[in-house]
């Protein structure tokens, strides 16, 4: 779409804009296997041009949901719409959707060109057009020099590119990716993540990716849905989900978190005063809804938001506690500290190793003070 076509109003992300129709609509979809609910009444709206991730651990139902979009599984209940068309019950070979498989599923008896041309041949396109589009697709994934190779003569990364080209050459309205980087080693994976995003932005095709790797989901997606036991727990941009986890599950699954439990003492403007027994301390956490005094509550504090000083002259007080260093995990760029507080509860804090010194921060058994800003904690729903 050319820039001039864009409306003059300030640019909203599609999911914030009430005037934009969702491109993929999943309506109350359930899939059961016997008594097991693999996908349990899931509703989801995905917009044109999005790079959407389904994130969850193994067995959470994300792959089943993806396979229902592809047409390999039928929903037990509910409906699926792609570009306004009800595709529930449409066989996979008639859907405007293509999939990149976790195992790549390259045809071992065909060379790279024939693999990529396979989908176009099914459409009975003219030979010249097939040749041109295959060449363009291989060019896009930088595999144009390998057209005559058989899949078994390619490395894992090259196979991955061919699988991508084979799915993209059909110009699908929607591309589904099942753990597309799962079989690559770490370095190649990080490199490919950015390439995949570049290709997606260049072509403007909507991508839906299944992954169990939260870093991958956060790096690549415009939005993501976190799934657990067949249910969608939270949908949002990676930053929103990280900073405002809705539940304890999200707080602990996406990134690391100190989840502290306590009771509400009272509400002060947009702040919640909480007594936390584990820390034997009072917490002041930002929260925009008042809560009944005495109600049980859980608070998530990300380790990087817990500040740590070697000073011990500060009196303990609200959002400030004393402790001693129990464990240090040195990761190079950062160090993770496990601090034992007076009540015995461990709290994680993070320190950036900004200066190159041998002992960058506090050492084992050293007394430290931890403190944090009310705005940096999150009150969890459940």
């Amino acid at each position: 779409m050319a820039l001039a076509d864009r409306p003059a109003r300030p640019r909203l992300d599609p999911w914030q804009d009430v005037n934009v129709e969702p491109f993929v609509r999943i309506e109350g979809v359930t899939r059961t296997y016997g008594d097991v609910y693999a996908v349990d009444n899931v509703s989801l709206e995905i917009y044109r041009g999005e790079f959407f991730s389904l994130l969850g651990s193994s067995g959470c139902g994300k792959t089943t949901l993806l396979r229902m979009l592809a047409g390999f599984e039928q929903p037990t209940d509910g409906k699926l719409f792609i570009d306004g068309v009800d595709v529930t019950g449409v066989p996979p070979y008639e859907r405007p959707v293509n999939m990149m498989f976790q195992s790549y599923a390259l045809f071992p008896h065909m060379n790279v060109e024939k693999n990529v041309a396979f989908g176009l041949k099914q459409e009975r396109l003219p030979r010249q057009e097939i040749r041109d589009r295959v060449a363009a697709a291989l060019d896009l994934v930088k595999m144009d020099a390998y057209g005559r190779r058989k899949p078994d003569q390619l490395s894992g990364g090259q196979q991955q590119r061919v699988a991508l080209a084979r799915a993209l050459v059909k110009r699908p309205k929607l591309l589904l990716l099942d753990e597309p980087l799962g079989a690559l080693d770490k370095k190649l994976r990080e490199h490919t993540q950015f390439e995949l995003v570049n290709i997606q932005e260049k072509l403007g095709i909507t991508f839906i990716m299944v992954t169990h790797d939260q870093e991958e989901a956060m790096t690549m997606s415009t939005r993501m849905a976190v799934m657990n036991e067949g249910l969608i727990v939270q949908v949002g941009t990676p930053a929103y989900i990280y900073e405002y986890p809705a539940t304890r599950f999200i707080a602990e699954f996406v990134g690391a978190a100190n989840v502290l439990e306590g009771r509400v003492l009272g509400t002060e403007d947009d702040l919640l005063r909480i007594y936390c027994e584990e820390l034997n301390a009072e917490l002041l956490i930002q929260h925009n809804r008042p809560m009944e005094p005495g109600a049980p509550v859980a608070v998530s504090l990300r380790p990087e938001k817990v500040l740590m000083t070697e000073r011990t002259d500060l009196e303990p007080g609200v959002n400030r506690i004393h402790g001693t260093v129990a464990e240090i995990g040195y990761l190079g760029d950062i160090s993770i500290y496990h601090v034992r507080t007076a009540g015995g509860r461990m709290v994680q804090a993070q320190l950036t190793n900004r200066n190159r010194v041998e002992n960058p921060g506090p050492t084992w058994d050293q007394a430290v003070t931890l403190h944090w800003m009310p705005a940096n904690g999150v009150v969890l729903e459940a």
Binding site: T63, T64, G71, Q102, A105, F118, P151, G156
Partner: protein, 287 residues
């Protein structure tokens, strides 16, 4: 599984095993070139028994019949075994599946005398009821052979299908191929080495069978094993050694060619694809 330390004991045992397998075969070949009629005493080099073999009309006719039956049997058995293998490996739990599975695994171990007797009785009863088969011979032998060798083909096809990444078929469907095209363009080519192996196996099973053929054969239909058997009962003969050597030569040649073809087509493939395969299984199992 591989052990770092190879004990001499296990190597020696393995060597003895192979010697046991090949010693008798070697003795057959060596004495086929023996000048003396005695199969066990060396009397100098000669190829006279091969000449005698090729002048033996009875053996040649029987060999021709056996080869015809074997080739037809192999082709029918592959078709039947492909169907049964597909049903068992791809159709999930359908009604009658355990019946089919049972009827596939039983012929693998069933003693030949029982198979031969039972299918002969079927032919006799069918003839009484319908008039067919009028006489027993090539057709009845063929039917009996297809029945038991299809079971072997099924096992080969089924295990190849189970081994095959099902995502390959899904990918083809995802790219717009209808089920029938998926089968013709993807499944069939991918399992073709198994079909070739099945064909060869069915061929040799048929060429080798004495007992079942003896039951269901009729006048005028004498297969090679039947000729060999009646000759062997009368005592050892260097002509049989010569025949054995030729069979060995043909079979070994066939196997080596087929092995090389298959090795080229999938041997390399399997080895190189392993890292992907390992990753695939490790990452996630679907609900």
């Amino acid at each position: 599984m591989r052990l770092k330390r190879r004990s001499w004991l296990s190597l020696g045992l393995m060597g003895l095993g192979y010697a046991f397998l090949y010693g008798p075969i070697a003795s057959l070949v060596v004495f086929s070139f023996n000048k003396s009629r005695l199969v066990t005493v060396w009397g100098g080099f000669s190829t006279q028994w091969y000449g005698e073999l090729f002048r033996n009309r009875q053996i040649l006719a029987a060999a021709w019949l056996s080869l015809k039956i074997a080739a037809l049997n192999a082709s029918f058995a592959v078709a039947l075994g492909l169907f049964a293998g597909l049903a068992l490996a791809r159709f999930g739990r359908f009604r009658g599946r355990s019946l089919l599975a049972g009827m596939i695994s039983a012929p693998l171990v069933m003693p030949d005398v029982i198979i031969g007797l039972s299918i002969l009785l079927l032919f006799v009863v069918m003839q009484q009821l319908t008039g067919w088969p009028e006489t027993r011979g090539m057709t009845t032998i063929l039917i009996a052979h297809v029945t038991f060798s299809a079971a072997y083909v099924t096992v080969i096809v089924q295990s190849r299908l189970v081994d095959m990444d099902i995502a390959m078929e899904e990918a083809a469907m995802d790219l717009g191929a209808r089920p029938w095209k998926v089968f013709m363009l993807i499944t069939l080519p991918v399992i073709s080495p198994a079909l070739l192996a099945g064909w060869l196996l069915a061929f040799t099973l048929s060429l080798d069978d004495l007992v079942i053929a003896s039951f269901v054969s009729g006048p005028g239909a004498t297969t090679l094993p039947m000729v060999v058997y009646s000759s062997v009962r009368l005592g050892v003969s260097p002509v049989i050694n010569a025949l054995a050597t030729l069979i060995l030569l043909v079979v070994t040649g066939g196997i080596v060619v087929a092995g090389v073809v298959m090795h080229r087509r999938e041997g390399n493939a399997r080895r190189k694809i392993t890292p992907v395969g390992a990753g695939r299984r490790a990452v996630e199992d679907r609900v």
